[in-house]
């Protein structure tokens, strides 16, 4: 019978904490950039402009048809060269972190773009007409009337996507970046307590994600009124 021994966890908390910070940073940046870039992509697809629409659709379909792990690896291989060529950086900067941030932000944008596009389309055309009739420009109509309402309609989906993203960041293990999962794995490997550490990490992921999804559900109820 296997004897559980969780005694290596307390001492490893600083390492695990640092890992959690990496996970949160990846999640946070991907959400912010993903929503901004995703909004632009969604507006491009909704604009009615053929060229813009096709380009945005191509981007969205490409990223949604490729496994995230591969995107992370691609950018790990590409970003260093780009950084050297463009900015002369590369020595001091953390390549793993930088490439993972870029990969997640660009990948998530594709998913956010689709959520935002559906959200914008959920706002009735009459609202657009009313805004235009007041003399608002296209940009004002979007910013002041359509997007605020769209955001409200799609908030639950955006948050659900954020929860999935939070879990998916663990995939950065393929480029050796020590996020929360990576840190737990390293500590477990080092102390020969892999099972305990992975159980602990799993419990933390579960508590955070389940708690967040409960919040989303409550939010959904409040918005529905």
């Amino acid at each position: 019978m296997y004897e559980f021994d969780f005694s290596s966890i307390p001492g490893a908390l600083p390492i695990l904490g640092a890992g959690l910070l990496v996970t949160l940073k990846l999640t946070g940046v991907a959400i912010v950039v993903g929503i901004v870039w995703g909004t632009l992509l969604a507006l491009a697809r909704l604009s009615g402009n053929r060229l813009l629409g096709t380009m945005a659709a191509g981007y969205v379909n490409l990223f949604r048809a490729v496994p995230l792990v591969m995107v992370i690896l691609w950018f790990y291989l590409i970003v260093p060269t780009l950084l050297k060529d463009w900015a002369g950086l590369g020595q001091g900067t953390d390549i793993r972190m930088a490439s993972a941030l870029v990969a997640f932000a660009l990948f998530e944008s594709a998913y956010y773009a689709e959520i935002i596009r559906a959200g914008v389309r959920s706002v009735p055309q009459g609202q657009v007409n009313a805004a235009r009739a007041l003399g608002m420009t296209y940009t004002q109509t979007m910013r002041l009337v359509v997007l605020p309402q769209a955001l409200r309609n799609m908030l639950p989906l955006l948050l659900t996507q954020a929860i999935i993203l939070f879990q998916d960041t663990s995939l950065v293990y393929v480029i050796g970046l020590a996020d929360f999962f990576g840190a737990a794995y390293k500590v477990g490997d080092r102390d020969g307590r892999l099972v305990e550490l992975l159980l602990f990490a799993g419990a933390v992921y579960f508590v955070l994600c389940f708690g967040a999804s409960l919040l989303v559900r409550r939010l959904q109820k409040r918005i529905a009124v």
Binding site: G126, Q127, N129, A130, A131, R132, A133, L134, G135, M136, T137, Q140, L144, V145, P148, Q149, R152
Partner: protein
């Protein structure tokens, strides 16, 4: 001088011709009622007047500005043409006050305090001053439509367009909205109203336009229209809606 001059306007949705050779002029201070069966193109015509819809043939000139002229700033023009919709279309994520001021502030560039003062004055005019802090969802349909009228008036419009403003309302709320419109009409506002409220037409309209299948079939002074409409279709239509 015509405030709204619609000349030989035709419009297609794809291959479907929704307006055919429509011509009518609305003079300053005139009240024109547009009626006709559902699907006859009334909404489309009135939406063409502030360029919410594009036309493919003919010209529309509003207050001397041609909508088809590429030099015309359409947003600017729309800001001076008030429009009231069948489904009110208040912005549900804003309070009544914000609904009344957003256009004044963002489009006309009025200082916020001035915009609030003007908005509240218009709200008082439609009898809803006490509702300023509420959200549209907390108001009845009739109240929402009155706020929508106040929102349009707060922009100091040179003319007002109404697209069946009472047809989404419960019967007991129709009059509170019509009363506001009658008052506007008697004060000399130039108005183009799509409505089937013939009582309203009798009371304040100068002219009545009857549309069918995208054409203006009848464009007559009120007395002539209610006396003896020339076309059979208009007679039939009138006899149908006046029975109720």
């Amino acid at each position: 001088m015509s405030m709204i001059a619609i000349d030989q306007v035709s419009k297609w949705y794809g291959t479907f011709q929704v307006l055919t050779d429509c011509t009518t002029h609305v003079n300053k201070g005139e009240v024109v009622v547009v009626c006709g069966p559902s699907g006859s193109g009334k909404s489309t015509l009135i939406r063409c007047v502030n360029a919410l819809e594009a036309i493919q043939q003919g010209t529309i000139v509003v207050n001397g500005m041609a909508l088809t002229d590429p030099k015309t700033n359409l947003s600017r023009l729309r800001s001076h043409v008030g429009m009231v919709f069948q489904n009110f279309e208040l912005f549900p994520h804003m309070s009544v006050t914000d609904n009344l001021t957003i256009g004044q502030i963002k489009v006309l560039g009025r200082p916020p305090d001035e915009a609030v003062a003007r908005g509240l004055k218009m709200l008082e005019r439609v009898g809803l001053k006490a509702q300023a802090g509420k959200y549209p969802g907390a108001l009845s349909g009739g109240q929402q439509q009155r706020v929508a009228i106040a929102r349009a008036l707060a922009m100091d419009p040179i003319c007002m367009l109404f697209d069946e403003p009472t047809s989404a309302l419960d019967p007991e709320m129709v009059n509170e909205v019509l009363d506001v419109m009658v008052e506007l009409a008697t004060e000399g506002m130039t108005m183009m109203c799509v409505t089937h409220e013939m009582g309203f037409a009798r009371k304040v309209a100068d002219r009545v336009i009857f549309m069918d299948q995208g054409r203006i079939i009848e464009d007559a002074a009120k007395e002539d229209f209610f006396g003896t409409p020339r076309s059979e279709r208009a007679q039939l239509f009138l006899s149908k809606i006046l029975k109720h």
